[in-house]
Amino acid sequence: MSFPRVVLRAGRSCSAMPARAFSVKSVVRNAAEPTYKAPALGVNRTFDEALKVIAEDKAKRLADIKNMEATLAQLVKAAPSAAKETEIATLKEKIFKQEAYAEINDPEIQWQFKNNKNVDMSKAVFRFMKGKQFKRETLPVIQQRTTQMFVTPDLLPSFTPAVNVQLDFGTGSTPEGTKIVDGYFETGSYLLPGKTIVEPKVNVTSFHPEQRYYTVALVDPDMPDVENETYKQQLHWLIANVPLSATQTELSKENADVVLSYLAPHPPKGTKYHRYTLVLAEQSNGGQDKIQMDASAISRETTLRDLCSHFKLEVKGLTFFRQIWDKDVSRIYKEVLQQDEPVYGNQPEVDELLDETGQKKKKFIHM
């Protein structure tokens, strides 16, 4: 008896006050419906009016989109000028936003996005919502991990990722207790060397509807360089001309050119944790150019900065995981690399106060 009254009061107080002054808790949390069930009409009059308002707004926006598309068509036909390209770009942005705002208030769209069902990335509204979610939830984590572990100054200049890259090495690739979001590990997580011998599935959420070509590279910047007393980079994987779009999210080797095949990560014993970084770089001309990478010019020692500057790549997405030596790494050296396993350690400590014979150094001399 009091329940419908409460609902109606909630509606009225919404209209009276600008901010929510009461807590609303959803009772049914676990029951995930398989399909969207539209709320019944006639129960809450405010809801019925709300639907009318939303429908009117949608109609207005669709009409606006028609006008903008007409002006866009005219602009494209018009004579080329300096301001023309920017005008076209801004107009396309406006059209995209209007397409998104026209449908974002639809309760069915909201349900679909929340439950990740029938999320068609070819629709502007879902691209918009996913973009917002990425910026709000995933991007801060990536930025924080990359700056904290110095991936950006070491490998690349600092940038803002525009594309979401996620790796899947299969179950059990992370030690127990690692945070897993949406089935993928968080950027910067530790992975087990035994589980990264096989190449991962790369899932890319790019927010552009058109197809663009990307270059994918897996770099280890922490391989010790004993001669120069520093660290050197090692390219574990390099694939060029990967076609990706909002609807094409998986990396498939059939459509792309594998320049360097996948080499299992093998952090040697005695070194600190290695940051294996997967970088997604857009190729030149807005991702429309295809690259010819001849294997003679590229080696596993090529640095990422050199690669990007030579082929005019613009890094758009980044993710990385960490690994430290394990017994499985010895196995990898023996079976996969067929090399002797190096063991690194610190230089022996030299006591400044003792001479070569081990005696205390004399402070004074007999004159």
Partner: protein, 149 residues
């Protein structure tokens, strides 16, 4: 009343009307000179049961969110209409000023500037609590005769 605080206010009023003496004093010594006000306040705050949280089913939750979105849209549209109205008024004002500037530069300058040293009329009669002995001088004529149309 549509305020969510209505229920608490009602309960508080009822408790205050019932009076303090029936329940034992809390923490003793809070009533000064026999005044039960602090006890009453404590009773209202802690004895009144808290309002239960509003629980919505998922269907009602969808309705609630849709209503919130639609209301936001309405306010957006109202604000947009207001801004457009203001913009139109500003544009008309700007055009009028431009026309005046083209017509007469002296009049335009006079319209755009304000008397910087303007002061209230010093001939004004001082305001008093009570009226003067002579409210109006009927013998002498008015200072400024009415202009002939």
């Amino acid at each position: 009343m549509s305020s969510p605080f209505a229920r608490t206010a009602l309960k508080a009023a009822n408790l205050m009307r019932a009076g303090a003496p029936s329940t034992p004093k809390k923490g003793g010594g809070t009533s000064l000179n026999g005044e039960p006000r602090n006890d009453l306040i404590k009773k209202v705050l802690f004895d009144a049961p808290p309002r239960p949280p509003v629980r919505f089913s998922s269907e009602d939750m969808t309705r609630h969110e849709t209503i919130e979105r639609a209301w936001k849209l309405v306010r957006q549209q109202q604000k947009q209409a207001q801004e457009e109205g203001l913009a139109k008024k500003f544009e008309m004002m700007r055009k009028a000023n431009a026309e005046l500037e083209a017509t007469s530069s002296q009049l335009f300058k006079h319209s755009q500037t304000k008397e910087r040293h303007a002061v209230f009329p010093r001939q004004l009669r001082t305001l008093t609590d009570t009226p003067p002995k002579q409210v109006w001088n009927y013998r002498e004529p008015a200072a400024t005769p009415a202009p002939k149309a």
